[in-house]
């Protein structure tokens, strides 16, 4: 239905810039599957967290000094002297943790319900780009307070690039702007940490654009057969998203006000010292599974029995870690099963939960020292992670026999009230 307004000014503007028509179509009438569960709340939550992060971040940037001699103190000043500075910083700091919590749940939802499958491949791939941007932003943000973990995390992660054959060491010097993590490094990380969130905003727009092309996937994973399978976004899902936001904010505020440093590391309240490495360097929890994959490759890969090394352990670890994300880009072409939802894939479902176990195990191993038995366990879990995407999903696409799919989205809900194509002209039934 075309957008109508009684307000003359709105009509005048909309005729010249149809922004009201656009918002009405995409946020109000936007037809959405009627059966979305609470697992579909995390996309909008992630968007809200992004806004919170940008708002608190800009305000803190006005108080922060990106210089190695002043950064640590300026953060302490924010905590002690700036009006509500402690709140801004704790919201921003824990906001990063919660951003990853909601985004990881959002991704797992997509993995389980096959949201990456046709026709949503590009939607999925933009999501992976957003994840990568988030990781880069979070990493550089963590460096800014210039604590011990900031400094040594930056050192370890930038040194990953030295594993690139031939040009690696030059690339690292270029990244640092010096011969170690130093003031030029801190300066450019601050500039990029400010820039990247706006790149994320741009990617989120593309993500939503691609989403609204075909609309949300749903727990049944089948396409809507007609208007009876969909309901308008407002008020149904605006309300549901707002309720989810309320629950989220309760948990978020509980952490911000009562355990703000629970997910942080005490070592980062010690100012960076380039001459002393902390006894145990651990990344933030959201990087732990990938860190465990990095450390799981402790062997060289070469031509057997010749002693020729093609990929040494260091490069192998780096390739595996980046590969763990890169494999997500091609996921839509690895899982060829035409059935989207895990509900109707009895074998897939078990491997999926095993993947979740592997990720939790990897997260735990990432926080342990690089010793046995942790390394061996990490290797098994890493092997399963890659096998899930590269071997199990392609094989299941051929071998698995899915359960029968329901005829339509509304059929299980309305007990036959909806019907298959042919009756699509029937208006949505009112209760």
């Amino acid at each position: 239905m075309a957008f109508q307004s009684n307000n003359a000014l709105v009509r005048w503007i909309d005729h010249r810039l149809p922004i009201f028509t656009f918002m009405n179509a995409e946020l109000n009438e936007y037809p959405t599957p009627r059966n979305l569960s609470y697992m579909w709340n995390f996309g909008s939550l992630a968007g809200i967290v992004l806004v919170i992060m940008i708002a608190t971040g800009i305000l803190m940037a006005m108080q922060y000094t990106p210089h190695i001699d002043h950064a640590f103190d300026s953060v302490e000043r924010i905590m002690r002297d700036v009006n509500s500075g402690w709140l801004l910083r704790y919201v921003h700091m824990n906001g990063a943790h919660f951003f990853f919590i909601v985004v990881y749940l959002h991704i797992l939802r997509g993995l389980y319900y096959g949201s990456y499958k046709a026709p949503r491949e590009i939607l999925w791939m933009i999501g992976v780009v957003i994840l990568l941007l988030m990781m880069a932003t979070a990493f550089m943000g963590y460096v800014l307070p210039w604590g011990q973990m900031s400094f040594w995390g930056a050192t370890v992660i930038t040194n990953l690039f030295s594993a690139i054959p031939f040009i690696g060491p030059d690339i690292v010097v270029w990244l640092w702007g010096g011969f170690s993590v130093e003031n030029p490094t801190l300066n450019r990380f601050f500039a990029l940490h400010y820039l990247l969130p706006f790149v994320i905003v741009g990617m989120v727009f593309l993500h939503l654009w691609a989403l609204h092309r075909f609309g949300s996937n749903n727990p049944l994973g089948i396409d809507a057969k007609g208007p009876q399978d969909k309901i308008p976004f407002h008020p149904y899902y605006t309300t549901k998203d707002l309720f989810g936001l309320g629950v989220f904010l309760l948990v978020f505020c509980a952490v911000v006000f009562f355990a703000p440093n629970y997910m942080g590391h005490p070592e980062n309240y010690i100012q960076a010292n380039p001459l002393v490495t902390p006894p145990h360097i651990v990344p933030e929890w959201y990087f732990l599974p990938f860190y465990a994959i990095l450390r799981a490759i402790t062997f060289d890969i070469g031509i057997p029995f010749t002693g020729i090394v093609l990929i040494d352990a260091k490069l192998g670890g780096v390739i595996a870690m980046f590969g763990a994300i890169a494999v997500l880009f091609v996921l839509p072409w690895l899982d060829r099963s035409p059935v989207r939802s895990g509900r109707f894939r009895p074998v897939f479902k078990q491997f999926f939960w095993l993947l979740l176990v592997a990720l939790v195990v990897l997260g735990y191993m990432g926080a342990m020292p690089a010793e046995q038995p942790y390394v061996a366990i990490s290797q098994i879990a890493t092997a399963y992670y890659f096998a899930y995407f590269i071997v199990i999903l392609p094989l299941l696409s051929i071998l698995e026999r899915p359960k029968p799919l329901p005829a339509s989205i509304s059929e299980p809900v309305l007990k036959g009230g909806g019907s298959v194509a042919g009756a699509t002209a029937k208006p949505m039934e009112k209760p």
Binding site: W174, S180, P184, V276, T298, A370
Partner: protein, 182 residues
């Protein structure tokens, strides 16, 4: 007029246009590259950073068996006055046991002085072993706690994920007890 000329010389014009198209594109690409390079290069170490690239160190206060750490280019440099046992141990290691093959002689100017960048070649942590009560690893040299790399008394990698021996910086003895690093 122009239209009819185009029709008559269609084939010639097509190849001429392709040429102009490619030539203009190539010049444009070179121009963009020339404009982008200064931007990329601005991120490389600046003149003031490079100016701090060499230091002098007085070795005379360091007793046998002692180590000191100095800062060079923002990185720690380990200087160890090695004991006779450590030198003998480092020289006795068969080369085929090494991951990154290098004899002890190649790593020192004078055998009692071991000078090297104290940065693990794995991912850049500072190995332990400079203080007497540090964990020196299984080969009596240095041990990197981050990912478990063991270095021997010559700073060579013996076990763990690090691919190379601890780097020996360029340095020269300017007199008996003073070196210039860098």
């Amino acid at each position: 007029m122009a239209d009819s000329a185009d029709v008559q010389h269609g084939v010639e014009d097509q190849s001429k246009r392709d040429f102009l198209y490619l030539a203009a594109g190539a010049v444009g690409a070179v121009g963009v590259a020339a404009a982008v390079w200064p931007m990329i290069n601005s991120l490389n170490p600046s003149a003031d950073v490079l100016a701090l690239a060499s230091i002098d160190v007085d070795l005379s206060p360091i007793a046998v068996g002692q180590s000191i750490t100095v800062t060079w280019r923002g990185k720690p440099v380990f200087i160890r006055h090695r004991t006779e046992e450590e030198i003998a141990e480092a020289q006795a290691v068969p080369l085929e046991d090494l991951i990154d093959i290098q004899s002890d002689d190649e790593r020192v100017e004078q055998p009692q002085w071991l000078v090297m960048v104290g940065v693990c070649t794995h991912l850049g942590c500072i190995p332990l072993g400079q203080n007497p009560n540090d964990n020196k690893g299984e080969f009596g040299g240095w041990f990197c706690p981050c990912h478990g790399s063991h270095y021997d008394t010559s700073g060579r990698i013996r076990r763990g994920p690090a691919p190379r021996n601890l780097e020996v910086p360029a340095y020269t003895f300017i007199d008996e007890t003073t070196i210039t690093i860098g």
